[in-house]
């Protein structure tokens, strides 16, 4: 009596199916009160991969339709994670030049996720990869902080992904992961959660905290895990380039100031000699008039006397020379 009642159920809920293609076969367990969903793929060439994210239990019907006019009959079957599913082999005949495979799967826990394949003989197959929703924005560079300081580790789901039921944090301990309990160690860890994001505040960092941290978004069907690497350094790390730069600045400043003082000493010496020359040549000073910076070669303006007088004197000297 059992097979007959299952056939009735099949016709009732999947009445639109095509009884001629003989591609349907019910799984043994009941579907429970999970919602239903259908995923279809039309295959044109040899293979196709379809990725799908599942966050809560669902009765998922996977459909594969393959167009080929080379063969008339083919054996189709289902695989999960590279292992053939028993009792799934059927012989297919063409319907409008199409072969169709369809099967309902109950996806209820993390084990039922994975790689489902519908295979058409040796010719073609479609892979359905079912996973928990991934976390976006995985930071590949380590998070850096200092000994004694605190740090905030952030994990978040993208806006278009479903909301997790809860968040958990783990830290690596050797090869294991141990869960972080923010209740028992409140002065070391604090967790602040949003709908789509979680922040772990870690205080009083030490070198032992330079490990991998794992954040886990827990859904009804399983957990998505992402990891962050924390690197704890001492203040001496940035101090090295800092000291190098300060040294460079000191060297530059000293060089420039030395150059300046050398140059001004040279100029003062030349001014002194220029004064002597000019005094010897033109003892008559003239009243001030307009002046410019220019001098004739070989002599210099007196620095604190009437520059205009100097100018006139120099001009006189020059004219005398000519």
């Amino acid at each position: 009596m059992m097979p007959a009642s299952w056939m009735l159920l099949l016709l009732a809920c999947c009445g639109h199916g095509n009884p001629k293609s003989v591609g349907q076969m019910l799984p043994a367990e009941p579907g429970g009160d999970f919602p239903s969903d259908v995923r279809s793929v039309f295959l044109k060439d040899k293979g196709h991969t379809d990725k799908m994210e599942v966050s809560s239990p669902v009765n998922l019907t996977l459909q594969c339709t393959w167009t080929d006019n080379k063969v008339d009959n083919i054996t189709g079957f289902w695989r999960k994670d590279e292992r053939d599913i028993d009792n799934s082999h059927v012989t297919l005949r063409q319907e409008n030049q199409q072969f169709q495979l369809q099967r309902m799967f109950i996806i209820k826990d993390e084990e039922s996720l994975g790689n489902y394949s519908c295979v058409f003989g040796n010719e073609a197959k479609v892979d359905f990869i079912l996973t928990v929703p991934h976390m976006g924005d995985v930071r590949d560079k380590p998070v850096v902080s200092y000994v004694g300081d605190s740090v905030v580790l952030l994990c978040k789901m993208d806006d278009n992904k479903p909301k997790p039921k809860t968040w958990l944090w783990f830290r690596a301990n050797g090869t294991d992961k141990e869960q972080i309990d923010t209740v028992t160690e409140p002065q070391k860890y604090q967790m602040k959660n949003d709908e789509k994001s979680t922040k772990l505040h870690v205080y009083n960092l030490t070198h032992d905290d330079s490990v991998l941290f794992y954040c886990s978004a827990v859904f009804a069907i399983g957990a998505a895990v992402s990891h962050l690497e924390l690197k704890v350094i001492t203040i001496y790390e940035p101090l090295k380039p800092f000291v190098a730069i300060v040294l460079e600045v000191l060297v530059l400043v000293t060089a420039i100031l030395l150059f300046e003082s050398h140059r001004s000493k040279k100029a003062q010496a030349q001014d002194a000699s220029g004064d002597e020359v000019a005094n010897a040549e033109a003892p008559n000073a003239e009243p001030p008039a307009t002046t410019t910076v220019t001098t004739s070669s070989g002599e210099s303006n007196g620095l604190d006397e009437n520059p205009s007088a100097r100018q006139r004197n120099v001009e006189n000297v020059a004219q005398q020379k000519q």
Partner: protein, 464 residues
């Protein structure tokens, strides 16, 4: 033989060297470095934004006040920098400013709460920046006569170039050392302003005994001290119509100036272009900005036109191109948007080269330092208005058309204000009344009056 210029340097050491000489270009290099370490660094602080929001768990608005405080402090303390440079020399003031800026960043690396960041990274570093920028610009302007605009244009191109290099550099520093270490290293980098200040040669002070006696006497009285401070700050400029007109024009310019920088990317996205396309528009405008600064500086030094006319022309063109920005993207044409943005970048860069070099044509040379300081202060108030106003317009109207049009209108208003400057329509620059009695006022020259300390020099040197 008289009047022959000496070869390398003027024998009058201590005065600014012969204008446009070898050491003047060293000063341009110093201005290049210090401007990039002030404004280029300011623009790169956005990298720390995300880190601060996460670490201190504060809102985006609270964090963005840090950069605003820094900019406001730089502009507010500019008159102080100008006054100190007049009282003492520009060199030590710039060096002190560099030390303060670096110290502010180093202290910020130890911050434990947001207030610390406001006080150190905002106030202290901003104070340092204020002591650096105005004295350096005034010194460079004083050491050039013929190539002033080109010198400033070359030096200010450092802002755009620094933004290109600092962004990836800061990103690397934050990833390697976290924000604390990165700020520490930035403080060290800011110390590089100190060698720039060391390049400034001390100003020669003539020993005029009568003046010194009068000065010491007046210093002993409180009123005398106040008068001295007011003279250092050049507060008397606020009573002069040309200067006030010019300051008003620059302030109007400032209201609209930053709006495209802040809103261009958002507007591009709003018009339907992708993130990369919008970012490219901004980068393209940045490149033409650099080109505009240098090209306009070179061209205006040719002397074919008065600086104020060129500035008005570039301001009008920039204003028109800002108004065209929302129109160009209306049809969804990416090429039109990029074209108008390139033109906007070029014209807005071109006008920045000239905005400072016009000041010596409006005030006499010895007041340029104080004039620049006050100008920074006045224009800072206007700059604070611009972005919130355009944001408000965007919120009210729902798109960026109104805010761009209003910004462009401010540019055009600025041009109109400039046109009310005395002798605007004259063919040559008007003669300026210097503070000291002139020896030979020279009204024939097209270039601005003498730029060096004129204690014993007459304005208007006709020896070209």
């Amino acid at each position: 033989m008289a009047g022959v210029r000496p070869g390398a340097e003027s024998r009058r050491s201590g005065e600014a060297e012969e204008p446009d000489g070898g050491w003047s270009w060293v000063l341009v290099g110093a201005l290049f470095v210090s401007t990039s370490l002030v404004f280029g660094l300011m623009r790169g602080l956005g990298i720390f934004f995300v880190e601060f929001v996460q670490y201190f768990d504060e809102s985006a608005q609270a964090i963005s006040w840090i950069a605003s405080t820094g900019l406001a402090a730089q502009q507010f303390f500019s008159p102080l920098g100008a006054a100190l440079s007049k009282a003492y020399d520009a060199g030590p003031v710039v060096m002190a400013g560099g030390c303060l800026a670096g110290l502010g960043l180093i202290l910020a690396s130890r911050a434990t709460c947001l207030l610390h960041l406001y006080l150190t990274m905002g106030l202290l570093t901003g104070l340092g920046w204020g002591l650096v920028f105005t004295p350096m610009v005034a010194t460079v302007m004083a050491s050039f006569r013929q190539r002033r605009s080109l010198a400033l244009g070359l030096a200010f191109s450092s802002i755009g170039l620094a933004s290109f290099t600092f962004n990836p550099l800061f990103q690397f520093l934050v990833e390697t050392y976290a924000w604390r270490g990165a700020l520490l290293i930035l403080g060290g980098l800011s110390f590089n302003i100190v060698p720039c200040g060391a390049c400034i040669r001390p100003r020669r002070r003539p020993k005029k005994p009568e003046k010194v006696k009068a000065a010491t006497e007046s210093r002993q009285s409180c009123g005398g001290a106040l008068r001295q401070v007011a003279s250092y700050l050049e507060l008397s400029l606020l009573c002069e119509r040309p200067y006030v007109t010019y300051a008003l024009a620059i302030s109007l310019l400032n209201v609209g100036y930053f709006v495209p920088y802040v809103h261009l990317v958002a507007h591009s996205r709003h018009a339907g272009f992708s993130e990369y396309q919008a970012a490219f528009v901004m980068s393209a405008a940045g490149v033409t900005d650099i080109l505009g600064r240098v090209a306009s500086g070179w061209f205006s030094d040719r002397g074919h036109f008065r600086l104020i006319h060129l500035l008005s022309a570039w301001t009008t063109l920039a204003g028109l191109s800002i108004m065209l920005l929302p129109v160009s993207s209306m049809r969804g044409s990416y090429a039109a948007l990029v074209g108008v943005s390139l033109f906007y970048g070029f014209s807005s860069g071109a006008l920045t080269s000239l905005a400072f070099t016009v000041v010596p044509t409006v005030v006499s040379a010895e007041r340029v330092m104080g004039a620049l300081g006050l100008l920074q202060l006045i224009e800072s108030c206007a700059g604070l208005l611009g972005s919130p106003l355009s944001g408000l317009l965007r919120d009210i109207t729902g798109n960026y058309m109104a805010s761009f049009v209003v910004s462009g209108a401010f540019f055009l208003l600025s041009t109109l204000t400039m046109a009310t400057l005395p002798h605007f329509f004259a063919r040559t620059d008007p003669p300026l009344l210097p503070v000291m009695p002139p020896m030979v006022p020279d009204a024939e020259t097209q270039s601005p009056s003498s730029e060096t300390e004129p204690m014993n020099e007459s304005p208007g040197d006709s020896n070209q």
